[in-house]
């Protein structure tokens, strides 16, 4: 749960590792690879996270494709050396752009054998995977037996285990190696993957940027020690050739990308209440937002946060509120008010495992239906889902714009997978058009009405406090064009119609979604949100093998873009793959009269009357390309 290494490294005494030699192991053989999946895992608090993130950044600096995934322990405070306690990072690197966390792991650095066993048992390691294991436990009487057994077992199972005296080596530099091991491991990895040590040093400087020079020096020494140790002692090396990009890229996780999007959209206020996995976006924003005059308001609860945002939006400053499932459920009533009052509002829901408190740190796509159908009565809102880290950034800018153009609520559905994954994308070039227009404070022409619903599009103007002559009272009650409370059946019908038509109006501006692959074939896989990379990777692979598989990924879930029906009709079979629940026809009691379909499948079936099948799972883990492949091959057979 904590990242304590920063604190403790300050206590380091020896910082003279600088001189660490850099001669290569004489016999080391270099394997060239297109891609590799690396994992670094430790007890919670040993800094594997920071090691992994830094490794990802260095790799990216070297011009490689990369996707990092956080490995979050199952418990708040798992006991040390426990099977369920693995904390760390999985880093997938490749010569080309990497779009998802991929399948099982090729190489793992583990700080003890127990966290490693956890990963083995959940089938996260590839057969024959290379393991770099901290060897200090061999000499620890209390645990040596279980350590030795584990190593033997692993070797017997075909894993290539390399025991590494990390603790011992680190002790040469710092007094408490538990807090420095992560940089030593980083050094190991840099050497193993033939990375540029200077770039690595620069990254360490950046990572510890705010710390004292001593801290930085000590960490660099550890990095160099790890590098040197690998060069001297390991007889293998990898090289993943990079296709250097010519444009600057930024490497951030989805939550930081969202937060940067908030900045870039010109919004001024973010009203939130902490909740995993959404909070880190607010953390980053709390730091960065004030630099540009923005405010992160932590309200007393989610309802207050949403109402605060509505108030600020009403007053002319379109506001964002960021939350996750339980908070989203609480906001339902307030969202209904924004819909009814036609207040622009951006709501970000970083989905986590549900229902109820569910799996706060795990990923799921379980909130699509409640996002579309939540809030009592007819409450149409726009729902968009980013499919990549880059999308997270731009989705906020788009959302703010739609919210203000249509006076609507726009919900962005991200998830823990995007929130906690890092991927480089082209550094955005700032565009003033991203920003919100200044608040209209011009006087209102006499006779103008706050809700002058356009009979064709449903669109209405909006008066903002300060506009002379525009005085009116916004109300959640049924109201007429003047915002007067009205229970007249015709007025109610007219107003509901207008609010609904805005979705159709927006829909008319959308382009049909692109099809990944051919527009006709045997199987179309449809997805939405964070599963994009995994689905497209699997589809690409199968297509290379000659399978007639394509995929379509929806960004707009409500309204749905035109042209989808035609696309669906181009395929013999259509299946959605989602990270949420659907009953399986394999279950004895399930048949077509009672099967509960997954979210997107339900929506597509209803709208297009196409027999869309679905595969979905609620395992709290990002979808793997392998899973997509397996499901697709089954569907094809």
């Amino acid at each position: 749960m904590m990242e304590m290494e920063e604190v403790v490294i300050a206590k380091t005494e020896r910082t003279n590792g600088h001189a660490a030699a850099q001669k290569a192991h004489p016999k080391s053989k270099v394997t060239k690879l297109n891609e590799h999946i690396v994992e670094i895992i430790s007890d919670s608090g040993e800094g594997a996270q920071k090691c992994g993130q830094s490794f990802g950044a260095i790799v990216a600096r070297m011009g490689l494709g990369v996707w990092t995934v956080e490995i979050i322990p199952a418990e708040i405070r798992p006991p040390a050396r426990s099977v369920a306690g693995a904390s760390g990072n999985k880093i997938r690197i490749g010569s080309k752009r990497v779009t998802n966390g991929g399948n099982e792991t090729d190489l793992v650095v583990a700080f003890n054998e127990q966290v490693l066993l956890g990963r083995v048992r959940s089938n996260e390691l590839k057969p024959g995977c290379t393991i770099l294991l901290e060897s200090m436990w061999r000499d620890d009487r209390r645990v040596s037996q279980s350590y030795i057994e584990a190593v033997e077992q692993l070797r017997a199972a075909g894993y290539k285990v390399h025991e590494i005296p990390m603790d011992m080596e680190c002790r040469k530099i710092v007094s408490d190696p538990r807090k420095g091991k992560n940089m030593f491991a980083l050094g190991l990895l840099c050497a193993l993957y033939s990375l540029d040590l200077q770039v690595a040093r620069e990254q360490v400087v950046m990572t510890f940027g705010k710390k004292s020079a001593r801290v930085i020096e000590s960490n660099i020494a550890l990095l160099e020690a790890g590098y040197a140790w690998a060069e001297e002692n390991l007889d293998f090396k990898y090289e993943v050739p990079s296709e250097k990009t010519t444009v600057p890229q930024i490497v951030v996780n989805g939550n930081t990308a969202l937060a940067l999007g908030v900045l870039a959209s010109g919004m001024e206020i973010c009203a939130m209440y902490p909740i995993t996995p959404a909070t880190s976006a607010s953390h980053y924003l709390s730091d960065a937002f004030e630099e540009v005059g923005g405010v992160v308001h932590q309200a007393e609860d989610e309802i207050a946060a949403c109402c605060f945002a509505i108030g600020a939006s009403y007053a002319g400053k379109c506001t964002v509120t960021i939350t996750s499932g339980p908070g989203y459920s609480l906001k339902q009533e307030a969202i209904g008010l924004a819909v009814m009052g036609e207040i622009p509002l951006v709501v970000v829901n970083v989905q986590r495992g549900g229902p109820s408190t569910g799996q706060p740190t795990k990923t799921e796509q379980g909130d699509l239906m409640t996002t579309i159908f939540g809030s009592h009565g007819d409450a149409p809102k726009v729902v968009i889902a980013p499919g990549t880290i880059e999308d997270c950034f731009y989705s906020v800018i788009t959302a703010r714009k739609i919210a203000e153009m249509f006076n609507m609520v726009v919900v962005i559905l991200s998830d823990a997978n995007l929130a906690n994954s890092q991927q480089p994308f082209k550094r955005p070039e700032f565009d003033e058009a991203w920003l919100a227009p200044p608040i209209d404070q011009s006087a209102v022409p006499t006779g103008a009405k706050p809700y002058d619903w356009d009979p064709k599009t449903g669109l209405a103007r909006r008066f903002i406090p300060g506009q002379l002559g525009g005085q009116h009272t916004l109300t959640g009650l049924a109201h007429d064009e003047n915002s007067h409370v009205a229970y007249d059946p015709e007025i109610n019908q007219r107003a509901i119609r207008a609010r609904s038509l805005k979705l159709a109006t927006l829909q008319k501006t959308l382009k049909p979604p692109p099809v990944f692959g051919d527009r006709t074939g045997d199987l179309l896989i449809v997805g939405w949100g964070s599963t994009k990379g995994a689905i497209e990777e699997a589809v690409e692979e199968m297509r290379k093998e000659g399978k007639k598989v394509s995929s379509m990924h929806l960004t707009f879930l409500q309204p749905m873009a035109p042209g989808i029906k035609e696309i669906l009709h181009g395929f013999k079979k259509v299946i959605t793959i989602e990270n949420n629940w659907s009953d399986s026809l394999q279950d004895e009691i399930i048949d077509e009269t009672n099967r509960r379909y997954s979210a997107l499948a339900t929506l597509l079936r209803s709208r297009y009357l196409v027999d869309v099948d679905c595969f979905s799972e609620c395992r709290g883990m990002p979808l793997k390309p392998n899973t997509v492949r397996r499901v697709a091959l089954e569907a094809l057979s």
């Binding site: 930024i250 870039a264 109402c307 600020a312 506001t319 307030a334 959640g476």
Partner: protein, 339 residues
């Protein structure tokens, strides 16, 4: 006036909210400038008195109607914004305060008033009420306390006296009444607490005025008659001037001779004395009327969080580029100088 769609499409060159702060008007207003529609409250409803007092205040303080916002929840009392020719938000049951806070933070150039019922504020909205006191944002919050749920037809409210027969407590309500004043006075950052009754319009007005001139969150509990559901409930207080006690102080209300002729029960109460305020607030018969507590020194959240810079495109661009820099990988893999 351009509508938003036009604005986005074609750009605008109207002054921003920040600019508007600089425009100083000197304008006179009439009562009618604040009136809208015909109030639909029952005859004799105390909400009428509150509306009148508020409209007078607006006129006397020459509040620009377009720069004034009344925010309410849901209930009879929460209809008030509809009768004001200002901006208004008739929001959700219990949520007036967070909405008002959002408005105030976004637009410190607007005057914000909040009208809530006793169910609205003290029952469903209680968490927001506690926290609004803490934020101490500059606004005037009126609790229309009729001791009953008016709009939904006579259910017990938190301030209903024990034993009150209502539709959900046909044999009499079960709990002692909540005292909104002592709760308020227990919250950090409390900066202005007053109590008035709807049937002494002069004091109601004076208190509102004092609240208006207080810089911070002014909480006024207004004991309000609901002749519809509790026609005789307050009669004893109404008819016996001895059953209110007026709080007078040089830093509080000054009771004029006309009033003190009828209401002879007047005590000195120093609004800066929190402990004493809590004691006085604990009494309910006679009803203490006046300013219980005031502290002008408590910081206002919207000021604490304010940023004086104009949010120009270049400010945002600069900030954004700086953030991008932190995460940028340059084509050569190395960190540029300026990081």
């Amino acid at each position: 006036m351009k509508n938003t769609t036009d604005m986005i499409a074609n750009g605008v060159d109207i002054p921003s909210a920040n600019d508007c702060l600089l425009q100083i008007y000197e304008q006179q207003y009439e009562l009618e400038d604040y009136q809208k529609g015909v109030p639909r409250w029952c005859t004799g409803c105390g909400d009428n008195a509150i509306l009148t007092a508020v409209q007078r205040l607006c006129r006397d303080e020459a509040l620009a109607p377009e720069k004034t916002v009344f925010v309410s929840g849901i209930g009879c009392s929460s209809r008030l914004p509809h009768y004001m020719n200002t901006y208004g938000v008739h929001s959700l049951h219990g949520r007036a305060l967070p909405i008002a806070e959002g408005i105030r933070l976004a637009r410190p150039d607007l005057k914000v008033f909040v009208n809530m019922g006793d169910g609205d504020c003290c029952s469903i909205g209680a968490a927001h009420w506690i926290h609004a006191i803490r934020y101490n944002m500059n606004m005037i919050a009126m609790l229309h306390d009729n001791n009953i749920y008016g709009l939904t037809k006579k259910q017990a409210s938190p301030t209903s006296p024990i034993g009150l027969k209502t539709n959900t407590t046909p044999k009499g309500s079960y709990l002692d009444a909540l005292n909104p004043l002592t709760v308020t006075l227990g919250v950090a950052n409390v900066s202005f607490v007053a109590q008035v009754v709807d049937w002494i319009p002069k004091l109601l007005y004076q208190t509102l005025q004092a609240a208006y001139h207080h810089d911070g969150f002014s909480f006024i509990r207004i004991i309000q008659r609901c002749p519809e559901w509790l026609p005789t409930h307050l009669d004893d207080y109404l008819h016996d001037p001895q059953r209110v006690v007026l709080l007078q102080h040089e830093d509080g209300l000054q009771i004029d001779s006309e009033l003190s002729k009828r209401y002879m029960n007047v005590i000195e109460h120093d609004p800066s004395d929190l402990n004493r305020a809590r004691e006085v607030a604990s009494g309910s018969d006679p009803i203490p009327v006046g300013i219980l507590y005031r502290n002008d020194e408590v910081p206002r959240y919207e000021e604490t969080r304010a940023d004086s810079r104009l949010r120009t495109a270049s400010l945002i661009r600069t900030g954004l580029e700086r953030e991008f820099d932190k995460f940028t990988i340059w084509p050569d893999g190395h960190t540029p100088q300026h990081v």
